[in-house]
């Protein structure tokens, strides 16, 4: 008797089988039900986990971005090079010359410039925009310069005396600022991103008889086939499987560690969610279930900076990732329970990235890329196995110069 026929007969014979239960069973069940259950209306639609993760990631990004944007500039300047430069200039003799210029200056400019310069020094190149220029420095001096006692040398003598030391100081300052800029470029950057694959995958196919079933039914000799291996596949009658694999969704937090001016290494933590719907259709019954797999992954990528223009940065990245299945849930008609976890999943990939720096500390980047997922040998059916080569798009915020 064929397996399907035997199953149907057994199923039908016991389909309506009932066994008695004790009278007090309901009271025991009722006592364990939540009090509000009777009055409770149907539950509000649950917000899916991935939506909650997206919202959380967006909120974190927003908070971090806002913090960076609103962080007062004067809090950033006392980093080592600038602070030491300020200390150096603090030790310089104070200029007594007065001018009539009264342009307002910001506190930070005043703080650095105040003790240093007596007059504009126009022979030196301008400093970068983000730093105070020498002209600005010079212009600010008169407004903040205190008057000196009359016993001091005349302004002309003092100017002659201090000029070489001022130029020396400016050169030192320039060097330190240049060093500071280089160090800024080589500092660790932190990225917060969301990523997904392209498109859901649906599949609909018949159910093949396995080799064991073919052997059990002695199918080859009955049907006159020479060999199961060489013959065409044998499908089970009135059986069909439908699968729908939803695109993977990932959220990551990574840090970039510079190796040279163009190369950097990045690693961190990535959460990935895979969801799939499965429907099995027999001639007299439809069975549906959904699987949701949660992975935590560790990527390791090498990043090469190809081109930079103003706030725009183009780079290429390549590397690998290992994902560990930390949670696996199977849902059948609204009821969830644990299922077998997937094995660790290895993948390699590459991407081309474009980053635009909204401000020096914060960049927005887009990375279209491709990934290949190695077969990990497990019997868990998921997007990685159905489509091992996967195009994806990663969008994120990168905090830099931290």
């Amino acid at each position: 008797m064929k397996e399907e026929e035997w199953i149907k007969r057994l199923h039908d014979h016991l389909a309506d089988f009932e066994a008695p239960v004790p009278d007090d069973l309901w009271e025991k069940i009722e006592a364990r039900l939540p009090k509000e259950l009777v009055a409770e209306k149907p539950k509000a639609r649950m917000v899916p986990l991935w939506v909650r993760w997206t919202a959380a990631a967006a909120l974190i990004g927003l908070l971090v971005g806002t913090t960076v944007l609103l962080w007062p500039k004067h809090e950033e300047t006392p980093t080592a090079p600038m602070a030491s430069a300020t200390k150096d200039v603090d030790r310089m003799p104070i200029e007594s010359e007065k001018t009539n210029e009264t342009e307002p200056v910001s506190p930070i400019v005043a703080r650095i410039a105040k003790p240093v310069f007596a007059e504009p020094v126009l022979t030196e190149p301008a400093l970068p925009e983000t730093e105070m220029t020498k002209e600005e420095m010079a212009e600010t001096v008169p407004t903040t310069q205190p008057e000196q006692p009359s016993t001091e040398p005349s302004p002309a003598e003092e100017k002659q005396k201090t000029e070489p030391s001022q130029q020396k100081l400016i050169r030192e300052l320039d060097e330190k600022i240049a060093d500071y800029k280089v160090q800024q470029k080589r500092r660790v950057a932190v990225s917060l991103y969301a990523s997904n694959g392209f498109g859901n995958q649906s599949n609909r196919n018949g159910v093949l008889m396995s080799d064991e079933m073919l052997a059990y039914y002695d199918y080859d000799s009955r049907m006159g086939r020479r060999s199961t291996r060489s013959g065409s596949p044998v499908y089970l009658a009135n059986y069909e499987e439908r699968q729908k694999y939803y695109q993977p969704i990932s959220f990551g937090l990574t840090a970039n560690f510079p190796i040279s001016s163009r190369l950097s290494l990045s690693s961190g933590v990535v959460y990935t969610r895979l969801h799939a719907d499965f429907t099995n259709v027999a001639d007299y019954l439809v069975s549906e279930h959904q699987t949701t797999l949660h992975y935590i992954g560790v990527p390791l990528n090498m990043q090469y900076h190809v081109w930079q223009w103003h706030g725009l940065n183009v780079y290429a990245t390549a590397g690998g990732q290992v994902d560990f299945n930390v949670k696996a849930r199977l849902e059948e008609d609204g009821v969830e329970h644990d299922m077998q976890k997937d094995r660790s999943q290895w993948s390699v990939g590459g991407a081309l990235g474009v980053q635009y720096n909204i401000i020096p500390q914060l960049g927005l980047y887009v990375e279209p890329g491709i990934k290949y997922y190695f077969d990990n040998g497990s019997n868990i059916r998921n997007y990685f196995k159905y489509r091992p080569t996967n195009f994806n798009l990663q969008i994120g915020l990168r905090l830099q110069n931290l």
């Binding site: 066994a19 008695p20 069940i29 064991e212 099995n280 008609d333 019997n379």
Partner: protein
């Protein structure tokens, strides 16, 4: 006339307290029958049915009505899952040793000649791993792939267990029929 499953669900969702009990009364004996196919001990089976109905009535808001009969199927699935979890918790389910239990092929058995309560009891008397696979494959209508996924075993193990269970059950049926004809 008995209310339909749709009417029953709508009554529960409308806050009709009596509808919860009506659902229980409608499916409790059926749930007990399903459970006894997994766990033959009556007291253990009653615990499983009790846990199942707490889960069913608490999660009734998530049930998706898909036509008459879908509520009954949903109840059976929850009961089945609860029974398998109970078996796992009591460490009765092992798939490590499949070398024993060689059973000879039996001639075609006449399933319909065995009363349902006897046949149900026969399934419950199968070794636990056979019993679970037969239940999932026959009454849950899962493919071998899905049985394998559900029990975390290779697909070929599911196929092998099912066929051994089938042969063993056929043997039991034959013995029963022979004993009745004497």
């Amino acid at each position: 006339m008995q209310e339909t499953e749709r009417q029953l669900i709508e009554a529960i969702r409308a806050g009709d307290k009596g509808a919860l009990r009506r659902l229980y009364e409608r499916f409790a004996r059926y749930a007990m029958g399903v459970t006894l196919r997994y766990v033959p001990t009556r007291d253990d089976a009653l615990d499983i049915v009790q846990d199942s109905f707490v889960s069913i009535l608490t999660n009734i808001g998530t049930f998706k009505y898909q036509g008459e009969g879908s509520l009954r199927l949903w109840v059976a699935k929850i009961v089945s899952n609860q029974a398998i979890n109970w078996i796992k918790e009591h460490k009765q389910l092992s798939f490590s040793d499949l070398t024993s239990d060689e059973i000879e092929d039996e001639e075609e058995a006449f399933i319909e000649e065995v009363p349902p309560d006897i046949l149900n009891g026969m399934i419950a008397q199968l070794p636990v791993r056979y019993r679970v696979v037969v239940n999932l494959r026959t009454f849950e209508q899962l493919s071998h792939k899905d049985v394998a996924l559900r029990l975390a075993i290779p697909e070929r193990t599911s196929i092998s267990l099912f066929h051994r269970a089938k042969r063993k059950l056929e043997k039991m049926i034959k013995e029963y029929i022979n004993s009745q004809s004497k």
